[in-house]
Symmetry: C2
Subunit: 299 residues, 2 copies
């Protein structure tokens, strides 16, 4: 029976480890069968730039068309000119908040509509395919198999919660309440009641240990499977792996320059950043080699 499962995963130790976990999880109470997937670089491409950044840049160009003075704002000037020195001086956090600010005042519904409009047409810069087809087929197969086994499948992303929610049902079958990301606060106003996006984050960006805390506060369970690819997923993978009973920490190694991208994510575990694959090897995680373990990457 197992031979039929996960057809895009090549036979080998990685696929065997995933299948062994799936079988072992049959003994776990259904209420405890929760899986947390990172999004960027885990469920879909994050190179050469995050999909959400492409969305933000698209919105920035629209804003500049409507009002050319927008491009004089320091964060946008640096970004639009591609001046790496200026970008570095300003810092990515401030730039991200400036981009987020382009949507200040929007209702959740309007923000979702903007996202879906972009996703309906946006294309990957180098792969030449629509962003919505840049998801990894082996991961979609894994999600379908988990769901068949009564897992709650969730997405735990460093990206914007509402951005990912706008597409999570269509791309992954994941409903909005099962998406945990970096959250923007809303402002409420009465008569008639309305919500509008503020420029303020709820707490910190959803990376590192924040992922663990936010999984608990927003999802209310501990995952028995966590899947990630970068330093920002480290704590989440450790959290899943250190639980009782069958658990699996699954890490994507982007080592396929031919079909996708080849790059090394690092984690700040010692004085010097350590490649996340070495962290994984040290901690006994299952590391997916995209080049070796996946027969198909994109549909």
């Amino acid at each position: 029976v197992n031979d039929q499962l996960l057809p895009s995963w090549r036979p080998g130790a990685t696929r065997d480890a995933v299948l062994a976990f799936l079988d072992a999880a049959e003994e776990v109470p259904v209420a405890d069968r929760m899986a947390c997937f990172d999004n960027d670089g885990t469920l879909w491409c994050e190179r050469p730039s995050y999909v959400q950044l492409d969305f933000f840049l698209d919105a920035l160009r629209t804003s500049v068309q409507a009002d050319p003075s927008v491009k004089e704002q320091a964060e946008f000037a640096a970004l639009l000119s591609g001046d790496q020195q200026a970008i570095g001086d300003i810092g990515l956090e401030r730039i991200a908040m400036a981009l987020t600010g382009l949507f200040n005042g929007l209702s959740p519904q309007d923000f979702t509509a903007r996202t879906r409009e972009f996703m309906a047409h946006g294309k990957h810069q180098t792969l030449g395919r629509p962003h919505r087809t840049c998801t990894y087929v082996p991961m979609l197969e894994l999600i379908a198999e988990l769901r068949r086994r009564d897992f709650s499948v969730t997405v735990v992303t460093g990206g914007g919660t509402e951005f990912v929610r706008a597409v999570s049902q269509e791309l992954y079958g994941v409903p909005p309440e099962a998406v945990v990301g970096t959250l923007i606060e809303y402002d409420y106003a009465p008569d008639p009641p309305r919500l509008s996006r503020s420029g303020r984050l709820v707490g910190a960006a959803n990376e590192g240990s924040a992922k663990v805390s936010n999984i608990q506060t927003q999802l209310g369970r501990r995952p028995i499977l966590a899947v990630g690819n970068s330093g920002g997923d480290r704590e989440m993978l450790e959290w899943a792996a250190a639980g009782d009973g069958p658990t699996l920490a699954l890490l994507v190694n982007h080592d396929d320059a031919e079909r996708e991208f080849s790059y090394v994510s690092t984690a700040q575990t010692f004085a010097e950043p350590e490649p996340i694959t070495e962290v994984g090897a040290r901690l006994g995680w299952t590391v997916i080699s995209m080049a070796r373990d996946w027969e198909t990457i994109f549909a």
Copy 2:
């Protein structure tokens, strides 16, 4: 067919309004079928005291047994002596935080175990039945019917998120990620990774307009049905009612001193507090009279 539905609801205008909404909702896309239920006074009894307060007092007695000096803390001294003057002077918010503090440092798992242990044995003070049987049968029927029609059923409570999550699956079939309440922050520590309850709230208590904001940030959709009973539910009911398409705002009026309790909840809508039932009548909500509309209250 409709005659068979909601058997504990007596025939009449209220039941008709609920059934008409259920039929109309068949035309709403499944992704938009979300219902938000308040918990205390809406799904189960909140008089003479909140179930969570009984749980806290039980924990306080246990703490005092282990360490009698605990009862000298001002908040606890006032509470244990029932000194209403002192309670008023200290304020309910500070007392609630002091009680929450009894669980500081606990892991989410241990807190859940404490809650379930209490719920397995705790009894209602005057009804003489276990707390876990103080849920309203007509509401359980409505939840089952909503689920049969592919609604996502959620609980949006002013109570502690983790307290309600510990029982929501068993009592209502609602999984933890679909419970939105007042949240305690966790502290994360590594090697091995662990979470422990801090004494700090995430944001404000989940009442009033906070319910609307938190529905959006945590559940990511706007409800088309909201059910509540008190001033703290007002904004949530208005939020649901003001949406597009078929919507329903449903308010429980506790007017049954014989079978449950008779009391008036108020909302601060004008200079003077206004009974929430009058707010409901003014805004066109469907108001449930427990005495008139419900044939059965408890199982």
